[in-house]
């Protein structure tokens, strides 16, 4: 970049910094207020079976209402979300340590989250819970069916899992190949059936349609007919484009060329949809920064906090 461009970028960053500084000085942003409520569940005999406190996020304008208080954990989460969003956005200017830090946090947190979720939703209820249900009920999942009996078939997946982890051992790494072969074979067979039925047979059947579509009055529905014809021509020409046993010249070549046009239109539609998706994601993040963090007059003051709602339960907020 030349000096003039550098100067313009410097001005943009300085203006943004001044704006943030002004918001910090006036103190009118970046806080989360909650309303606390006691919930009590009574047993059949009228005694209190369970009782807990819920915290519902309220709009900042209601912070002086009775029962509303500042939530420190949620405020920390809001700031963490905002700062990490800005760190990720900084990659657009160029690779930098802020981006790298945010990226590492995302990767680390996701890996840990997946491990914990996998342990509590699969290993405990579906493996340990099936092998030793009574013991699992005493310490992990009290809601487990009291009638459940031990099912020793589940020792087989346990054994396969141990064999899979054997690759971490200094010797006998080859043992992990057997369960791996089992998983690959099972998955391939599994997916083959799904694709054959839903993407092959059903799609062929869906293509066999009348070209002349009749409307309710018995006349020809021109637009529906054009749609049906376009679909059939598109399918045939695209199939011919991918048919390489015949040289692509003459009629075959022209049809294959038409197939390329259909493919290009499809790719264009895909690109357009992708742009739409990415703009939606950007606008959601900007809404979070503008409204939830900077309090620039939210149109959804009663909205559930985006990032904060994800982080806060973990912090006990």
């Amino acid at each position: 970049m030349n000096n003039r461009a550098n100067a313009i970028w410097a001005i943009i960053f300085v203006v943004a910094a001044i704006f943030l500084g002004w918001r910090i000085a006036t103190g009118n942003f970046g806080r989360v207020y909650v309303k606390s409520q006691q919930v009590t569940v009574n047993a059949d005999d009228g005694s209190v079976a369970a009782s807990w406190e819920t915290h519902t996020k309220v709009p900042p304008r209601d912070h002086q209402e009775e029962g509303v208080s500042l939530s420190i954990p949620r405020t920390i989460g809001l700031w963490a979300g905002a700062i990490l969003t800005l760190c990720i956005f900084s990659f657009l200017y160029g690779d930098n340590p802020f981006y790298k830090t945010a990226e590492s946090i995302v990767v680390g947190a996701s890996a840990a989250y997946l491990m914990v979720i996998g342990f509590w939703t699969q290993i405990i209820p579906n493996l340990i819970g099936n092998i030793v249900p009574d013991w699992t009920r005493t310490w992990a999942t009290p809601g487990l069916d009291p009638e459940a009996k031990a099912d020793y078939v589940y020792l087989l997946p346990l054994m396969l899992s141990i064999m899979l982890l054997w690759r971490l051992a200094p010797v006998g790494g080859w043992i992990s190949r057997w369960p791996l072969a089992f998983f690959i074979g099972a998955t391939a067979g599994f997916r083959l059936i799904g694709f054959m039925e839903a993407d092959f047979v059903a799609q062929i059947r869906a293509t066999i349609i009348p070209i002349w579509v009749k409307d309710a009055a018995g006349g020809v529905d021109i637009w529906a007919s054009i749609g049906a014809l376009t679909m059939i021509v598109g399918v045939i020409s695209c199939l011919i484009y991918f048919f390489f046993s015949l040289e692509h010249k003459g009629v075959v070549g022209k049809t294959a060329r038409l197939g390329i046009w259909f493919l290009m239109v499809t790719f264009g539609a895909g690109f357009g949809y992708t742009v739409m998706g990415r703009i939606a994601l950007l606008s959601q993040r900007l809404e979070f920064l503008f409204y939830e963090w900077l309090w620039l007059d939210s149109p959804t003051a009663d909205a559930v906090s985006g990032t904060a709602s994800l982080i806060m339960p973990a912090l006990g907020g």
Binding site: G194, A202, T266, T274, M276, G306, S309, L310
Partner: protein, 284 residues
């Protein structure tokens, strides 16, 4: 000017896009939406269900696609709640659990008369991708011995008589990729002829259109369809127009319009620069 544009730093494009998206958000620019025929197919699939019908709400997305899919998930939730349908939430993505909790928060806040366990429940996440679908379509209790909160499913009233996903009257899937709509079509909608509607990200939508109408009743593709569906639900239930969060998708169409105009202008500009360069014999 030609030289400047030819070597334009991409950071200027990013800045322009930031302004194009930020300005309509700050000015709260919105546009009216008219639901398309496809969106009305999705709407009618839910609208025509009798009260008390069972609907599987399979939320297969995470915060990365929240901006695009949450408006659909919220609109589906509100529509089913208005119709007094029984909602069974489940997820094949670990990070979809907070997305389900967001939908349940809508029910708790806007429909306090609906009761957990009788009108809606959260089955939670199970790892195993399409393996989970393959199991729950024949025996849901084999995998889901408890709900997300650890309550035994046999003690939850709305699980009475539900032994598999085949008991559902409709499957509503909101999907950001695999496993998602494709797998629900492959393992449930096609072999078991189950009625299904879906909402998908823009990236995914073109791959799913071939399933319509035989395998999928209808599809909401990207934020545009989400906004149209929100409008259809508001048209059907006008009191929802007062709830700001029921118009999230509609609100995001303002930035869409300006952002798309910018993209179109940039594509035209890039082509003009290319042809000028070719005429000048510029090889760069």
């Amino acid at each position: 000017m030609y030289e400047f544009l030819k070597t334009l730093d991409r950071r200027w494009v990013f800045l322009l896009m930031f302004l194009a998206v930020a300005t309509p958000i700050l000015l709260k620019v919105t546009f009216p939406e008219k639901p398309s025929a496809m969106v009305m197919d999705v709407f009618n699939a839910i609208e025509n269900l009798p009260e008390g019908s069972k609907v599987l709400m399979a939320w297969d997305f995470d915060p990365a696609s929240r901006g695009e899919l949450e408006p659909m998930a919220s609109a589906f939730t509100r529509h089913c709640a208005e119709k007094k349908l029984k909602m069974y939430y489940m997820a094949l993505w670990p990070l979809a659990v907070p997305m389900i909790q967001d939908s349940i928060r809508i029910l708790e806040r806007e429909y306090p008369h609906l009761e957990y366990g009788k009108d809606y429940m959260n089955l939670g996440y199970k790892p195993g991708n399409e393996g989970v679908i393959k199991v729950v379509i024949t025996n849901i209790r084999k995998l889901y011995t408890t709900d997300h909160y650890g309550t035994g499913v046999e003690t939850i009233p709305m699980m009475n008589g539900v032994t598999s996903v085949q008991a559902m009257d409709l499957i509503v899937n909101v999907s950001a990729g695999d496993p998602g709509t494709k797998q629900w079509v492959q393992y449930v909608a096609t072999p078991f002829k189950k009625r299904m509607v879906a909402g998908a990200t823009g990236v995914q939508a073109p791959q799913l259109y071939p399933y319509i109408p035989e395998q999928l009743i209808g599809l909401l593709g990207a934020i545009k369809a989400a906004a149209e569906y929100e409008q259809a639900v508001i048209n059907g239930y006008p009191h929802l127009a007062k709830i700001a969060t029921a118009k999230e998708g509609l609100r995001r169409m303002g930035p869409q319009l300006v952002g798309h105009v910018l993209i179109v202008l940039l594509i035209i500009l890039a082509n003009v620069i290319y042809f000028i360069g070719r005429r000048r014999g510029d090889s760069r």
